[in-house]
Amino acid sequence: MTTVLELRGITKRFPGVLANDHVDISLNEREILALLGENGAGKTTLMNILYGLYQPDEGQILVRGEEVAINSPSDAIARGIGMVHQHFMLVPVMTVTENVMLGIEPTKNGIFLDKGQVAKRIREISEQYGLEVDPDAYIKDLPVGTQQRVEIIKVLYRNADILILDEPTAVLTPQEVEGLFQILRALIDSGKSIIFITHKLKEVLAMADRITVLRGGAVAGSAIPSEVTPRQLASLMVGREVSLTVEKEKPQPGEVVLQVNHLYVKDEREHVVVNGITFDVRGGEVLGVAGVQGNGQTELVYALTGLLPVESGDVLLNGESLAHATPRQILERGVAHVPEDRQKHGLVLPFPIYDNMMLCTYYQPPFSRGVVLQEKAIMDSATELTAQFDVRTPSIKVAVSTLSGGNQQKVIVAREFSRPIKLLIASQPTRGLDVGSIEYIHSRIIEKRDDGVAVLLVSSELDEILALSDRIAVMYKGQIVDVLDADAVNKEYLGLLMAGMKPSEAASKAKPGEQTVERVF
């Protein structure tokens, strides 16, 4: 077995942070190496160094035994290294062909773009590896799974034989993940080598030939999938024992708190994206909305929280209509919102922690008297909340933008959960957070449920939905296709529904078994 790639003693410092600390990694030919680690463990930094986006402060990179300097992505491409980024690097308003050819455009007469030639090559590549895609389609019209295929084709078009995939499964349905794994196998069979970055243990165990775990910027250990358990990997990753399951009692559902009737919502482009939804959530239960991102969940939450107008239908909170209420009226009636995009809708990033904690209540006594803010009351309350919700920060006076993702989310949770609420709407509450923070946020959500709050959980992470929900609603193309009891859920059936199959077809296709839910990140 030949080593195609070796990183020796890679060290990278950012102001105040040691992102990579003498990292040694090697990749063999025809091998899938999983690079496992929490957010902030230095995985992406390391790969960006390998791809020439950053320069290491120390260390060597050896490609096929030869030491190389990679100063830019062009150098990496020239050495046969290609990267599929976590956030796709595709221009939405251009076609597949244009995106693939960008940077190495063949020309006719040395002047004009030769798109025909590229389109032909794309068809060849897609046939060879089973990467189905239409070269003339515009990226913005393609589903995420197909966009990812375009990214892979982009890398293959550049004749890369070392592929780096950064969190490739984060945006896919379970079926699409399965498809991706098959593609990766096909790539390995044709002689490519792959580094696969992830923080999901299950994928690593299913896919990798070898595992290297990063923690705090350094290699914490290596393993072979057949020889480790998820629990061992998790504690390697986090550096302490973690609980992989959410402890929760049986739900005690009470009265219906949220009733949604025939709700229609249009997005900014005037398309109907929530297409006649009816459901209810009772106090003391968690209703999980599962679905692939982009099937109307975002707009559903926006409509419920007053951020998008309700086109028709009604939203009732304890029988009172919220359909035409303003966001402030909605939150004053006891609705808490943990928004999907915490930096855009959840926080005012340049503001200090104490101001962010008062965003819903700053105008009410005791935080405000007349038109004057009461700084002392705000500070006292913020100090208390910071301690109560375990926000790790040097001071409550620092800008929220300086906090880590997990701590930013805790600021939002502190603000929303400390008010008297009847309904909690949590949208992607743990996206991009590390295992420790996920554990914390999950336990807080269950705590609220047990207090009798109705919880609407929207997440594209199926494991999160399964771990927290008491009932699961599956959303596809703006509609709820089925509502299931979480106790007796069949994961395969759920995945087929998320991929757009009708309940009757899915029920006949899904194999029985895998009834029990074990949460693995």
Binding site: V91, I111, Y264
Partner: protein, 422 residues
């Protein structure tokens, strides 16, 4: 309840709003044409539209003579009929509706204004193109710059500085082509300053653009009032480029005199429109430029130098604006007057937006502004009973209507105005 049906109802409701709204707009326009122009047109008078220019080489064709009142009434009826049709059946294409509406209104207005007189249509077309030239060049500067993701609102200032540089250097060298070259280089230089500030130091692009405008007005006015209008009047007397008729093409009626009997700046403008369009949409450079303007990070990961691409495009845009500046002095009047660009750089930005950041689109939008501008001049000559102050407003009013987005929405490049951080 059937959800698909309900979706259809919602979409039908939206379409009904468009149908009725535009139907009413058309009906009102028909009524306005009738009331404003029809009732004020005397029966029996004709409007004569000249189809030839006196000094032109083109083959002479007969002038168009039409009965004024009958034509206006006919237009009013057609538009009202269209409105009624729109109310009952509905046409989806808003572009066509607004186009028909504007065309009929302008035509009725012209017929009314020219009743009992002669109005030279070819002369009008020619002056539209002449007046569109600096607007189009400004718009192209904007297109080049913004397609790569850099907003440049300093075009007005760039054109002013270049205009002055052109006239001074042409006077000094007694050679207009030297002036042209200096203007283009000056434009490139000022734009390079803008690029350096906003790309290297990430200065706010609007602030830098405004600074260039203020600097341009201030510096050129100072030089003008201190030197050019005092001791150095000889430096402000360059003469202008001669008209060069293009053989054969200039013989074509209407188009010949309007387009092919112009000076070099106008020909260059046409060339630049075509060249920038081809570069942006059919060459590797254009593909890279658009990628940098839409998603610079993606371009970067493919080994494209985002900063260099932006520098080159902003500077190339500045050179085009420099050409636009040269038009004002050595291309039109042969001397520099203070603030002589009169907002053409800003109107050019409006033309860029209306043309959807597309060179050919920007050129045709510039023609609309050029038309509004030259209409205003012609109408003053025809002594139309509208105060001249209102006529002078025409190009700016058109700008405002266009920018409200009534007539179709345009989408800027996604990373337009966003500094790129590695």
């Amino acid at each position: 309840m059937n959800t698909i049906e309900e979706t259809k109802t919602i979409e039908a409701a939206a379409f009904r709003r468009i149908r009725i709204g535009y139907g009413i707009a058309l009906l009102v326009t028909g009524m306005l044409i009738f009331l404003l122009f029809g009732l004020n047109t005397q029966a029996g008078l004709s409007s004569v539209f000249g189809m030839n220019l006196p000094s032109s080489q083109a083959i002479v064709i007969p002038d168009l003579v039409i009965p004024a009142q009958a034509t206006v009434y006919a237009l009013a009826i057609v538009i009202a009929f269209l409105g009624a049709f729109q109310m009952s059946r509905g046409i989806h294409s808003i572009g066509w509706l607004v186009g028909a509406l504007a065309f009929a209104f302008v035509l009725a207005f012209l017929v009314w204004a020219a009743q009992g007189k002669s109005f030279n249509l070819v002369g009008m077309l020619q002056s539209s193109i002449v007046r569109a030239t600096p607007i189009a060049l400004a718009a192209l500067c904007g297109v080049m710059s913004e397609r790569s993701g850099v907003v440049n609102i300093g075009i007005e200032g760039i054109m002013l500085i270049s205009a002055q540089a052109a006239v001074i250097s042409a006077s000094l060298a007694s050679n207009l082509y030297v002036g042209l070259l200096v203007a283009i280089l000056t434009g490139g230089l000022v734009a390079a300053t803008h690029a350096y500030l906003v790309i290297r130091f990430k200065v706010d692009q609007i602030v830098s653009g405004v600074a260039i405008n203020i600097f341009g007005v201030g510096m050129t006015s100072f030089i003008s009032s201190r030197f050019l209008e005092k001791a150095f009047t000889n430096l402000n007397n360059s003469g202008t480029f001669p008209i060069i008729p293009i053989p054969i093409l200039s013989k074509i009626p209407i188009i010949g005199p309007a387009l092919f009997e112009s000076n070099i700046v106008i020909y260059l403008m046409i060339v630049v429109v075509i060249v920038t369009h081809v570069i942006l949409f059919y060459t590797p450079w254009g593909l890279r430029t658009r990628a940098v303007g839409e998603h610079p990070k993606a371009a970067d990961t493919l080994g494209i130098n985002v900063y260099l691409t932006r520098y080159i495009n902003v500077i190339a845009g500045g050179m085009i604006a420099g050409l636009g500046g040269a038009y004002f002095t050595i291309g039109a009047v042969g001397r520099f007057d203070q603030a002589m660009t009169a907002g053409k750089g800003f109107i050019g930005l409006a033309a860029m937006i209306f043309g959807n950041w597309n060179p050919v689109g920007a050129f045709f939008s510039s023609l609309i502004f050029g038309f509004a501008d030259s209409l205003q001049v012609k109408l003053q000559i025809l002594s139309v009973p509208i105060p001249s102050a209102f006529l002078l407003m025409a190009p700016y009013i058109v700008t405002m209507i266009v920018l409200t987005g009534v007539i179709g929405k345009s989408t800027p490049p996604a990373a337009d105005g966003v500094p790129y951080e590695k």
